[in-house]
Amino acid sequence: MHPATATEKGTFMNELDHFQEAAKNPEGYGKNLKASGRPVIGCLCSYAPEELIHAAGAHPMRLFGTKEAIVNADGHLQTYCCSLAKGVLENTLTGRLSFLDGAVFPHTCDTIQRLSDIWRLNTDYDFFADVVYPVKLNTQSALDYTVDIFERFKKNLESWSGQSLSEADLTRSIEIFNSIRDQLAEIYRMRSKDPACLSGSLLSSVVKGSMILDRDELPERLFRLRKEIEEGRYAVPGNERKKRLIVAGSLCDHPDFFSILEESDGVVVWDDLCTGSRYFDETVDIGVPPLEAIARRYVERRRPCPAKHLSNTARGEALAAMAEEHKASGVIFFLLKFCDPHAFDYPYLKEYLETRNVSVTLVEVENQLPPEGQLKTRLETFIHML
């Protein structure tokens, strides 16, 4: 593979290289983009309304945890905090995110809620915003309120950038993001149809890369990438014979996990991850006032994050339907330790799925994957029981 330093265009043979490069070194990519004159706004969660940031002329970049040692964040967050929040804070405190112009904190879980305060009090970027979402998604008042908070966020962006955000700007951004989402979903569908067309770890870098790469160029890139996948450039023969699985959880920033899984005779054919389908699931309607249209996507999406309430069994139904649609016989819950919203849902989802003949297993990670041998044995056991 390519050394983590090369970012100049042209040295890459394959479209996929750009995604992988960005996924491996998001900070390096962000720095370059910033140096080219584009403001960069860090996004904390899949609920960050990226279209608005993009329409304001800035680059929305998803923030991830860190593989580096935690040194500074331990002075702000206790040991029982998830590695994502800790990692993001560590990155900002050590200056690895100094290229950012600011960040946006959508209100989701208790941890992000406090991380927002800690970030606000300990950093001094130009831009900062909380987008305080409703927790429930099933009422008209919650939808109206979501439109209101987007109005506020739009104003925040306008007063920061000094430019007003027109409806046309927003619509243009919506179209770009819709294209990105459509194409990511298309790649997922291609892979569900033929899991041998691309390895799971490469697919994960496609989604992660899409949260980092310049969105203006991304639709073209995804288009070329699809062509390359179709040509069979990334084929991994044998994957089509492996057991079909779904991964569910918050963030999975461990491409190795997918490799180990494929070595264990399983293959992920769809997911319910923030670093997966939660990023691209469902598009924004055109022809509706833009802020309302964006709000509707978040409020009406059928596969919400567990930190949001759609109904008491929405996630069970969604996962069961996903397993059926993609002919998956098992769901692997990939959960970050200390992640409350996901931990609360696990027992019921397990029961819900098992009574529908979908097997379930749990992999809990703190910062790093469990030792490879151990993880492999567990996955193999699970897969062979299917």
Partner: protein, 414 residues
């Protein structure tokens, strides 16, 4: 000075009354179906007044959790929840309560079955997940009263959204019960609720006296009614009597800690299974915990609610709760209280059960140190899961902390 006569103060007379009221309350709740009354489970910071006005019995899983903790049954119930698949890292109230629902375990054999569930996220997002579990288990209707976090302010759009939910909430209750809310009764309940909150704040304020007639540990016990019965005459009468008793103690110079020399402040929920131990431990150092952020959390809405328009103003009161504000505002509140109660040190309970209360404590600690120059101690636990508590370690840390407090005080005296 009475330095030499180390006399244990007489027990608080109202303790007995509290026991009686709470026993009656739980008997009434547990026999609700016989009396044809409906039961609603509601979160501790939830808007209970409309329930009382509609003669629905409110039941608080969190208060139940505290009882479980105080009877040291939290560890085994939490363990059962873990066997059901719940992570040992989630709130121990939720774990114990869920296990108790399934097994009817705990000091009172479980809570009465709910006819409805009311979850308000002004304390945490955990309650949403917890109540979803309950809603599935009991197949009971769930109403979520959504109070957007006030990181720095309380914006117009939040105000509108929460106000709309007040109406949605009332409609929900009317639909479940098939009855109309009586507006006059509602206003009366609202007034009683505010009256109880004012009296409770006055009770806590008596701790500004030296020596303090009560400690936060006493508060944790007497708090039960402001959580469970605010909006009733019983709570008002109770706190009026308790206030009289505390004022009498102040007049007679009776301190809760004999030879009170140091005054401390507590942050976060109590460690329910070690209340007595901690209280003795600090008393042995002549230290009284005179203030805390938990007992006062139920009085915060006072400043926002209009006595003459309870339904029209409760939205703000319930949204701007202590846990629903930014870390910097929490620090301001702590500093204000530390000054008001003249405290010499801050004890922070880093509560593995409660992330929204605990994350940010390190920053608060820094702000307090910068502005007040008082020592600060952090002790860690899961508030009702006694399996997580290290007594020896905590003891050593308290001793070291108290030495610091003593040193600082000697410097001041010199």
């Amino acid at each position: 000075m009475s330095q030499t006569v180390s006399k244990t103060p007489p027990p608080i007379a109202m303790d007995e009354k509290m026991k009686e009221i709470m026993t009656n309350y739980y008997i009434e709740a547990k026999t609700a179906s016989d009396s044809g009354k409906r039961v609603a489970w509601i979160t501790s910071g939830g808007p209970v007044e409309p329930l009382i006005a509609m003669d629905i019995i409110p039941v608080y899983p969190e208060n139940h959790g505290a009882m479980i903790g105080a009877s040291k049954m939290g560890g085994s119930l939490c363990e059962q929840a873990e066997a059901m698949g719940y992570s040992g890292d989630i709130c121990s109230y939720a774990r114990a309560d869920i296990a108790s629902a399934v097994t009817c375990g705990g000091p009172i054999g479980g809570l009465p079955r709910p006819d409805m569930l009311i979850a308000c996220n002004n304390i945490c997002g955990t309650v949403i997940k917890w109540y979803e579990v309950l809603a599935r288990y009991y197949d009971a209707p769930l109403f979520i009263f959504d109070t957007p976090m006030c990181h720095t302010d309380y914006p117009e759009e939040s105000k509108r959204y929460v106000q709309r939910q007040v109406h949605e909430y009332v409609s929900f209750l009317e639909q479940v019960t098939g009855r109309k809310l009586d507006q006059d009764k509602m206003e009366e309940v609202g007034r009683l609720s505010l009256e109880a909150q004012r009296l409770w704040q006055a009770v806590l304020d008596t701790a500004t006296a030296r020596p303090s007639p009560m400690t936060a540990f006493d508060g944790f016990y007497h708090l039960a009614l402001i959580v469970t019965l605010r909006g009733t005459r019983v709570a008002v009468d109770y706190y009026r009597d308790l206030l009289a008793e505390m004022e009498d103690r102040v007049a007679k110079g009776i301190g809760a800690v004999p030879n009170e020399r140091y005054r401390l402040m507590w942050d976060n929920l109590p460690i329910w299974y070690r209340l007595k131990w901690l209280s003795k431990k600090f008393a042995a150092h002549d230290a009284a915990l005179v203030a805390d952020t938990y007992n006062t959390a139920w009085c915060r809405s006072l400043r926002y609610i209009d006595e003459n328009d309870f339904l029209g103003s409760m939205a703000e009161g319930y949204t701007r709760m202590y846990l629903n504000i930014g870390v910097d505002q929490m620090a301001d509140t702590i500093i204000e209280m530390a000054e008001k109660y003249s405290v010499d040190g801050l004890v922070m309970h880093s509560n593995r059960s409660c992330k929204p209360y605990s994350f940010g404590q390190y920053d608060i600690q820094r702000m307090v140190r910068e502005r007040l120059d008082i020592p600060c101690l952090i002790i860690e636990s899961h508030m009702i899961d006694e399996r997580s508590f290290s007594e020896a370690q905590t003891e050593t840390r308290i001793d070291a902390f108290m030495e610091l407090v003593e040193e600082k005080n000697q410097c001041k005296e010199r």
